[in-house]
């Protein structure tokens, strides 16, 4: 290492490979200090080109931080004077760059440094100005005039994302904000419907959208549908009303859009870049860019592209399924609801557009002769359901309308023997459901207006007491958009709350179940993890039943997966129960 060798070995005289091996064990500070020992070591470490991952730089009034998140490294410095602060940052960053030449992935600049905005000329992937208002609760926040903000936006070269956080509104119509891939703006009190029509970004999140009404969003969606919004890049756009403000009214937002309710889809962000997580551009997502959409209202754009509108608390988020044309092609070959279909099923067209079905719909005989096989999934418009007179056998029959929901009447249930079929799902209906007569294994009752909390409670009491005999039942779920009163449902059941983790495996799991929404999201052949359940035992056979309460879903899992002998509740040998120590609930 040293240009002159010595007799006794030192780090300076060891062979280069060995010194390199030793530097593998040094943290960032040690590497820096080693580099500072001599010119030879400085050059040596520079030549190593150590990959540290990108920088996060955060400068606020009075201090700055230089982080290397991949190395769990953070360097901080404090300086009262703004000029010296910026000088020091530039010098320190230059030093870091000399040894660890990486890009700035994330640069946050405090708007309180507005008088020095002309001194920032960095290059970064994401530029974030300000932070959540909560972080400024103790500090006076400066107002940031548009011309100063534009100066900063013009000077800093941000390549992928821009977050205008505030705390005070950061008002600008700088041309760069319309074209950046990811855009987040908080305090968008100043944004107009015309502004959002100009956006050419891929991912947009607008928070505190006081100025945008349901009507504005509705009109935007209608324009999106008809192709008037000139943004082919758009993947996700979100509108958040802001803390303490009322939620957007769903009916008004979706008015006239002919949407279909769809559950449990996975939206894949195209060209996912992990650096998008450095700000709240897309809300929550998994590491690979998959966004779970538990419930959305879908429609098709006039060009055939599916659009999903999701309402999550105070946020309306719109997903445009145009990420990958290749995936789209592949999707066509798959059946609806295929387990591997990450982009979700195509939105269905309202049947009202068709006066009659295509003529070959009823005659599958020829194709079945050429390509023998069972029909796994048969989807029938109720308008023509009466014309199917036992001409086909299938595993799943789905009868749906997309505007008004399934309208079951006294004839159809009899005709299709729905009360005995293995898997049953009834959605959006106002017919009375005879809960005590259900002999199905999987039951999903979804927005049935006639089902009430006392009725579910009565049903559960009857199951517990053996007044209802449903030996096949594995899972029943009741969904209601407006939510359930869980206390009423559990009243008098004497449940035991169990917060320990347990896996519920479905008896006779069949992959075909996933072709429609029979199962709760996450339940597959490996089962589903239950963490917080209210358990009771069927008195006649000792089988445990676990009630899972979510805001708008009540699920009852029946642990009849194996031969179960009657035994006391919480028996330690009971493999299905991990709740021997569960505490008694208040219900």
């Amino acid at each position: 290492m040293s240009s002159v060798s010595r007799t006794s070995p030192t780090l300076a005289t060891l062979p280069v490979d060995m010194v390199k091996h030793i530097t593998d064990y040094l943290d960032i500070d040690s590497l820096w200090n080693l580099a500072c020992t001599s010119k030879v070591f400085m050059e040596f470490i520079q030549d190593l080109k150590i990959r540290t991952g990108g920088y996060h730089v955060d400068i606020q009034k009075g201090s700055y931080r230089i982080e290397l998140p991949a190395e769990h490294y953070c360097y901080c410095n404090w300086e009262e004077d703004d000029d010296y602060l910026i000088d020091d940052l530039n010098k320190d960053f230059k030093d870091f760059q000399s040894l660890f030449p990486e890009n700035i992935d994330f640069l946050r600049i405090d708007p309180n440094l507005v008088r020095n905005f002309d001194r920032f000329h960095q290059e970064c992937t994401v530029l974030s100005i300000g932070a959540h208002p909560m972080e400024y609760c103790r500090f006076k926040a400066e107002t940031c005039p548009t011309e100063k903000l534009d100066l900063l936006l013009n000077n800093v070269n941000f390549r992928k994302g821009l977050a205008l956080n505030g705390p005070k509104p950061l008002v600008t119509e700088n041309k760069k904000i319309f074209n950046i891939d990811w855009l987040l703006i908080r305090n968008v009190t100043w944004i107009t419907p015309e502004f959002i029509r100009k956006l050419k970004n891929k991912i947009v999140y607008l928070m505190g959208t006081e100025s945008l009404t349901e009507k504005d969003i509705n009109e935007y969606l209608k324009d999106l549908k008809s192709g008037k919004i000139d943004n082919r890049n758009l993947q996700v756009i979100g509108f958040n009303t802001g803390f303490g403000r009322p939620r957007y009214d769903r009916e008004q937002v979706l008015n006239g859009l002919d949407t279909t309710q769809v559950l449990d889809q996975t939206y894949k962000v195209a060209d996912y870049d992990k650096r998008i997580e450095s700000e709240l551009f897309i809300g929550t997502s998994s590491a690979n860019g998959d966004i779970k959409i538990f419930r959305s209202f879908d429609f098709n754009r006039d060009d055939g592209t599916k659009v999903s509108v999701e309402f999550m608390y105070r946020t309306v988020r719109v997903y445009i399924w145009n990420q990958d044309k290749e995936q789209e092609k592949e999707k066509v070959t798959k059946k609806r609801g295929h387990a591997k279909d990450t982009n979700g099923p195509a939105a269905k067209n309202p049947y009202s557009h068709h006066s009659s079905p295509p003529p070959n719909v009823y005659n599958c005989g020829v194709s079945r002769y050429l390509l023998p096989g069972n029909i796994d999934y048969l989807l029938i418009d109720p308008k023509i359901a009466g014309k199917f007179k036992n001409v086909m056998d299938c595993a799943i029959l789905s009868i749906v309308t997309f505007r008004k929901g399934l309208a079951l009447n006294g004839v159809i249930p009899k005709m299709w023997k729905i009360w005995n079929i293995d898997w049953l799902q009834i959605r959006n209906s106002s017919i009375p459901i005879p809960l005590s007569m259900l002999y199905n294994k999987i039951i999903n009752l979804w927005d049935i207006s006639t089902i009430t909390e006392p009725q579910i409670n009565r049903y559960l009491l009857d199951i517990r007491d053996g007044a209802i005999d449903q030996p096949n039942l594995s899972l029943i779920q009741f969904r209601k958009q407006s939510g359930w009163n869980s206390q009423e449902i559990l009243s008098g059941l004497g449940t035991v709350r169990c917060q320990e983790r347990k896996i519920y495996k479905l008896k006779d799991f069949d992959e075909k179940m996933r072709m429609d929404t029979f199962l709760p999201f996450g339940l597959d052949e490996n089962g589903i993890e239950l963490r917080d359940t209210f358990d009771f035992v069927r008195r006649k056979d000792g089988v445990k039943c676990s009630v899972v309460l979510l805001d708008w879903v009540v699920r009852v899992y029946v642990w009849n997966q194996m031969e179960t002998k009657k035994r006391a509740r919480g028996h330690p040998e009971d493999k299905d129960t991990n709740d021997a120590t569960a505490k008694k609930s208040c219900y």
């Binding site: 070995p9 060891l14 064990y25 040094l26 200090n33």
Partner: protein, 179 residues
Amino acid sequence: MSVEPEVPIVQVEEVRENPVLYKIISSDNHVFTISEHAVKLSKTLWDLITNLGLTAENALDNPIPVENVNGKNMETIVQFCERHKYDEEEPEYTNYIREFVLPEWDRQLLSIDNEELFQLILATNYLDIQKLMDYCCRVIGDMAKDKTPEELRIIYGIPTDAEDDALERSASDSPGPSG
């Protein structure tokens, strides 16, 4: 007072194997005995044994001279190899190299002064013992924790730029072998 039964004490290692032993002679003529499993940790020694055709019958009659390693270092190396001879192969841990924790026994073994440690790492490099090399590098790396550049210069024996220049000048001024 109880009387201990007279039973032969058998070392666990002897039970596990009937070891083939090899003799190694260090540069200062110290002789060490090492088992076959232990010597296999050194790629250099094992290649030598294979090439020389040493077998269980003739191994002890043919000591292997290692002229680059002194007795002190060889003792440490033999101890290390005997300790780790039955270790399972460790997965590559390059991603977590800085989080890897040195076992206490090995930390004690390698608690030696810096000059010896640098000599040991050279010997380890010569004998090509990967695991000991990793451990030595870990120990040398740990020396740098929370040290200033000035302290590092002393610990690692790094000359300042001025010293280095002066040494280089004097080396170039002195007459070469032919001069």
